[in-house]
C-alpha cells in the first residue's frame, strides 16, 4: 500500500483509481451523499486516519462542501479525525465488560502501553480508545484492535496480542 507519493513526497490519502471509482459511483447515483461513510472509511483504511485534506478530497470527489463531510465525519466515533497509531485499540467499557473486570483491563492496558485513553504510544504503534459495547458480551472483557475483536482478556492474553501485533508491524 502506497501511503506516500514518490514524486511529490506527500501523503497519499487514497489511490487515484479508488478516487476515480468513487467519482464514477457518485456520478451514477442520484444521491452521492450515500457514499460519504464508505469514502471516509476508504480514506481511513488507506491513510490510517482522515486529515483535513481527506475531508477536502472526499468533498471534492462527491461534489459536496468540506463542511458537509465534516458534519458526518465528526458524528461517527470510528472515523478518526486526528492522527492515530498504526493500530487502534478500542477497549469496551460497557456494562458486560465492566462486570467482568473491564476497568482492571483498562488499567492494565494503560500501564502496559504507558498511555491514557485517547493517546498514542510514542512509537506510533498503538492508540488506546474506549468504545461502547463491541457485541462480544459473551467473551467479556473484550477489545477490538483494528477490526479484529479479542475477548476474555487476561494480562497474559493482552501481552501475547500486543507482542504479536508489534511483531507483525515490524
Amino acid at each position: 500500500m502506497e501511503t506516500v507519493n514518490q514524486t511529490t513526497g506527500k501523503d497519499v490519502l487514497l489511490p487515484d483509481d479508488t478516487i476515480e471509482a468513487f467519482r464514477a459511483k457518485a456520478a451514477d447515483t442520484p444521491h452521492p451523499r450515500e457514499l460519504i461513510v464508505d469514502l471516509l472509511r476508504a480514506i481511513q483504511d488507506h491513510h490510517g486516519w482522515v486529515p483535513d485534506a481527506g475531508i477536502e478530497l472526499a468533498a471534492q470527489t462527491l461534489g459536496l462542501s468540506p463542511l458537509q463531510l465534516e458534519e458526518i465525519a465528526t458524528f461517527y466515533d470510528k472515523i478518526y479525525r486526528q492522527p492515530v497509531g498504526r493500530k487502534v485499540i478500542h477497549l469496551c467499557d460497557s456494562i458486560c465488560c465492566w462486570t467482568t473486570g473491564g476497568e482492571q483491563v483498562a488499567e492494565l492496558l494503560r500501564d502496559k502501553l504507558g498511555i491514557g485513553f485517547g493517546e498514542t504510544t510514542p512509537d506510533g504503534v498503538f492508540t488506546l480508545l474506549p468504545t461502547c459495547c463491541l457485541g462480544a458480551c459473551g467473551d467479556a472483557p473484550a477489545m477490538m484492535i483494528g477490526l479484529t475483536t479479542y475477548g476474555r482478556l487476561t494480562a497474559e492474553k493482552i501481552d501475547t496480542i500486543l507482542r504479536e501485533i508489534r511483531q507483525q508491524i515490524d
Binding site: 486526528q82 480508545l129 474506549p130 468504545t131
Partner: protein
Amino acid sequence: MNLIRGIKGTAQAYWITLRTMFRKPVTIQYPEQKRQPFPRYRARIVLTRDPDGGERCVACYLCSAACPVDCISMQAAEAKDGRRYAEWFRINFTRCIFCGLCTEACPTRAIQMTSDYEICNRDPLDLVYEKTDLLIDDTGKDPDYNFYRHAGIGVVNPRGGNEDEKPPADVRDLLP
C-alpha cells in the same frame, strides 16, 4: 382640672428644655468638624477593581438601566484581550439620589457606594464625574471576586481555564 392640665403642660415643656440644656449638642460644626456616618450609609459612588487590579466594570449598562434618574451613562468597548470595559463612564451627581439601585444591579461588584457624603460644589459641571474620578484602586466589598474568573469566556484565564470549567471540547476528538 383645666388648671392642672395647663400647669402640667407648661412645666413639661420647660422640663424638656431644661434637660436638653445639659446634653451634648447634636449639631456639629461642619465643615470644621466631620461626622462619621454609619457603616451602611450610602453616598458617593465609586468603581472598584478586581483583586488582580483590573477594572471590574464591564460596561454592561445594567446600572444605567436601573438608575431611576438616568444619571449614569457609559460606552462599552472591547480591549485587545477581549475584555469588555467602559470606554467612558459618567455619573452626573447633580442628579444622583443615592438610592443604591445601581449597586444592586451591578453583576460584577464594580459599582459600589462609599460613605463619602461631601459632594457639593458651586459649579454643577464639577459634579459630573468621569471614569477617572470614579475608579478607585481598591476592591471594596467582596475583595476576592473577579467576574472574569467565572464568566466562561476566557479573558482572565485561557478558555476553559477557570476553576468551574472543563478544558475546551473538540468535535474531532478521538474519544467517543
